[in-house]
């Protein structure tokens, strides 16, 4: 069924009885050409592009719980392409371009809102770094603009630019950045994939791989063995657990990141702002809640919940830049487990096992990557060559010294 304004009116007049499910609920077949493990944003996008761009049929997505219950439904929904390094920026810009056409492409309202992202500058050194970053963005075809404090005050009149401790000296804006309704991304890709014949199988956990003579022949699941020509792992925070079943140790630690939402208030923040003197970023959802977050908790965790010291730290950052935040009540906080890689950048690559591929290491920034990650992973799975924007995302970069370390932190995942 095509969604349209006409359809909404028709359904409204007929009691909304005609919508039907957006994807089929089916049992797994005994084998597929392509199995994608993980029904998060990346896994569903991969399946969608495998079918749509590469014309593949006999594709399945296996999800252990329900689709969208992982990080794709837990993130703070920010999209942007304001990266610095060559290995990253073309990829994230490709992703932002895909976001721009996503809703038309999927015929699904993902609420892509290019409300802009503004990184505030608080010191001369930070301004130099942001000018350099802005130039790198422009060189890669992205948009970037250095804003003066006067320009910033037009959109954010309440910011205290003369703050004695953290004066605001300007900001780097990416006007094409913004937010997207995260669940709708999972649902939209799922529906699009399903319409092209992809089987989306929920409550089906992959428990092992069948590997013979260095070749992956399929996966063991809680719903039995399923054969496959090619298997693509795409399980974000569970990457190390899953790949251990193929005797792999990954350059990844799993950490928890928390996020917060306040009670709904009248329109306040037109776009996304980030505080440059502490770790705090904030946007306002369409329902009015202030959605914000900061640092990861900093220790290995699979618990999907964080601890109080980071809540305190994030709220302190918020009070430093938006003191009015103290008047709003915190409505909810939650956590997600993330695949923090050793250089802060992702991996989309083959493995030592033929027919087994890996996508992970997205850290806290993989939501914005969803379309490009799916596209590039589908490209790799279908053609056995990396997509042109993802050639640097290889496992061997750690051995060859070709790290993509945006922050220059070294092999310390909790600092990226």
């Amino acid at each position: 069924m095509r969604y349209s304004g006409f359809r909404v009116i028709k359904e409204a007049l007929t009691g909304h009885r005609g919508w039907g499910p957006a994807w089929r609920d089916i049992d797994p077949k005994s084998s597929y050409d392509y199995i994608i493990i993980g029904g998060g944003g990346h896994g569903l996008a991969t399946a969608y592009y495998l079918a749509k761009e590469f014309g593949k049929s006999r594709v399945a997505v296996l999800e252990k719980d329900w689709i969208g219950g992982g990080n794709v439904g837990r993130n703070t929904t920010i999209i942007r392409s304001n990266y610095l390094l060559d290995g990253n920026e073309p990829f994230y810009e490709f992703s932002l371009k895909l976001w721009e056409g996503l809703e038309q492409e999927l015929n699904y309202n993902a609420m892509v809102s290019q409300r802009g992202i503004l990184n505030l500058i608080h010191s001369d050194a930070q301004r130099d770094a942001f000018i350099r970053r802005g130039n790198a963005m422009i060189l890669n075809g992205a948009d970037a603009e250095l804003l003066s404090t006067e320009q910033i005050l037009k959109s954010y009149p309440f910011l205290n630019v003369d703050n004695a401790r953290f004066p605001i000296m300007g900001g780097l804006a990416q006007h094409r950045g913004g937010t997207v309704r995260h669940d709708a991304v999972a649902w939209g890709y799922a529906r699009g994939a399903d319409q092209r014949g992809v089987d989306i199988i929920q409550n089906c956990e992959v428990t092992g791989f069948k590997i013979e003579n260095g070749r992956c022949l399929g996966v063991d699941t809680t719903r039995g063995f399923i054969g496959a020509q090619k298997v693509g792992a795409c399980v974000a925070g569970s990457s190390s657990r899953l790949m251990a079943k193929a005797s792999m140790r990954l350059p990844i630690e799993t950490h928890v990141l928390q996020a917060f939402v306040s009670e709904g208030i009248k329109p306040l923040l037109p776009g996304v702002i980030t505080f440059g003197a502490g770790h705090f970023y904030c946007s306002q959802s369409d329902k009015g809640g202030l959605v914000f977050g900061g640092d990861i908790d900093g220790y290995n965790s699979y618990a999907q919940r964080g601890n109080l010291p980071v809540i305190e730290d994030v709220c302190e950052g918020g009070m430093a830049i938006l003191p009015m935040l103290g008047r709003a009540r915190l409505l909810r906080s939650w956590g997600g487990v993330m695949d923090m890689s050793m250089d802060g950048s992702p991996i989309i690559d083959r493995t030592h096992v033929d027919g087994l591929y890996f996508n992970g290491g997205w850290c806290y920034g993989g939501f914005k990557a969803t379309p490009a990650s799916g596209f590039a992973y589908a490209h790799l799975l279908a053609t056995d060559t990396p997509h042109q924007t993802a050639t640097a995302y290889r496992f061997d970069r750690f051995a060859t010294g070709r790290m993509i370390d945006e922050k220059g932190m070294g092999n310390q995942p909790n600092l990226h």
Partner: protein
């Protein structure tokens, strides 16, 4: 999280800095034939288990000692805290 420091008693985890897997105290031999491969594994690959994890915490805002904390990454429950120094010397490392 409270970390029961063997000398100082229970301390809030926020006094500590987290480094990672306690296997990091087993630095490879730089003179070994395959030192490069060993250091690549040492520097970049991790077990990253879901469940019991032995890990290094540095008491930066305290007595500045390194601890090996055994903690469950699924529940955050801490079952054992040792001085890294004691573990290393029991293994015959730093004398």
């Amino acid at each position: 999280m409270l970390i029961n420091h063997p000398i100082l008693g229970p301390r809030d985890a926020s006094e500590f800095v987290y480094l990672g897997d306690a296997n990091l105290i087993h630095r490879p031999d730089w003179q070994a034939e395959d030192a490069l491969a060993q250091f690549t594994k040492y520097g970049y690959l991790r077990d990253n288990p879901a469940g019991e994890h032995r890990e290094l915490w540095f008491h930066e805002q305290g007595d500045r000692s390194w601890l090996i904390v055994t903690r469950n990454t699924l529940t955050h429950e801490i079952s054992k805290v040792e001085m890294a120094r004691d573990v290393a010397s029991a293994e015959g490392r730093s004398k």
